[in-house]
């Protein structure tokens, strides 16, 4: 088991930015000399360390491109063998699939945050239409059959 102290936390930092690359963010953390463990992933970074340090690090990273860098907590520390595909017999961990889907939506979320900042509230689109009434469907069917 990985040796983790109770007060340590882990954050996933997903970078969906044109300006910042995961490697830039990682470099920034290395330079900052915070006592945290950083793991680069295909989406960004996983940072593990004492709560205060991790919070400060993530704030710093967020600032690099605040509307296009996203952060969430992670239960497992970076590189925990219980979640490592090599030691658990292959296959991505289940949470990965959802993260992948969310990451696909991030450019749009980032743009929306930019837009909100620049222009204020957006117009709400009309609510979803109800299902066609049976009587209306019946009328259409009859009309179609009569043609």
């Amino acid at each position: 088991m990985t040796d983790v102290k109770q007060e340590e936390i882990t954050k996933v930092i997903v970078i969906s930015s044109d300006k910042v690359l995961p490697v830039d963010a990682a470099m920034k953390i290395y330079e900052s000399e915070f006592p945290v463990t950083v793991k680069e992933t295909c989406f960004g970074l996983i940072v593990t360390g004492p709560t205060e340090d991790v919070l400060m690090v993530t704030e710093e990273i967020r600032k690099l491109d605040k509307n296009h860098i996203f952060v969430k907590d992670r239960g497992f520390p970076a590189g925990d063998e219980r979640r490592c595909r090599a030691s658990r017999g292959g296959g991505p961990r289940p949470g990965f699939h959802f993260l992948r889907e969310e990451v696909r939506m991030l450019p749009a979320i980032g743009d929306a945050l930019d837009e909100l900042e620049a222009k204020g509230p957006v117009k709400e689109s009309p609510t979803k239409k109800d299902k066609l009434k049976v009587s209306e469907l019946e009328r259409i069917i009859e009309a179609e059959l009569a043609r």
């Binding site: 088991m1 040796d3 983790v4 102290k5 109770q6 340590e8 936390i9 882990t10 996933v12 997903v14 996203f70 952060v71 969430k72 907590d73 992670r74 239960g75 497992f76 520390p77 925990d80 219980r82 979640r83 658990r88 961990r93 289940p94 949470g95 699939h97 959802f98 993260l99 889907e101 969310e102 990451v103 939506m105 991030l106 450019p107 749009a108 979320i109 743009d111 929306a112 945050l113 837009e115 909100l116 509230p121 957006v122 709400e124 689109s125």
Partner: protein, 150 residues
């Protein structure tokens, strides 16, 4: 700062937006952390032991499958703590912590039965819908009390 329950409970987007707009996301990741960093337990991968489905009896009866009760032992306390909630319908995929739809139905029900502000909206089905999605969440979060009212 309000404690906001999010559904899906492991959503990056929701956890990020809640925090970004000044509140505390009640996410399952923190519960998992408590479990997996508890060195007195050794029940990989998420350190759920046979005791947890029993804890889950608080939320679901014994005829409910163990997997539902085990998950509820993680998520139930979050719902109890929640001061507000954001429920996103039709998320793109649901695996792992949110891989059981019966659990998901139960937790949404338990959230809705609480007397707290709830925002329910659909996951954006296209990029065009994303701004509205973000706007609604922002507006909801801004409507919540900032300071601890105690």
């Amino acid at each position: 700062m309000a404690k906001v329950f999010i559904y899906p409970v492991n959503s990056l987007i929701l956890a990020d937006l809640v925090e970004r707009f000044g509140h505390k996301p009640l996410a399952v990741m923190n519960q998992v952390r408590e479990k997996v960093t508890n060195i007195s337990l050794d029940s990989p991968p998420v350190n759920i032991t046979p005791e947890d489905p029993k804890v889950g009896l608080r939320y679901a009866a014994v005829e409910v499958p163990a997997g539902v009760r085990g998950r509820m032992s993680l998520i139930g306390p979050l719902i109890e703590d929640a001061e507000a909630a954001i429920i996103v319908e039709a998320p793109p995929v649901n695996f792992g912590c949110v891989g059981c739809n019966r659990t998901n139905e139960l937790m949404r029900y338990l959230v809705r039965s609480k007397d707290i502000p709830i925002l329910e909206l659909r996951y954006p089905d296209s990029e065009e819908n994303a701004p509205e999605f973000v706007y609604k969440i922002k507006a909801f979060l801004e409507s919540l009390p900032r300071e601890e009212e105690k």
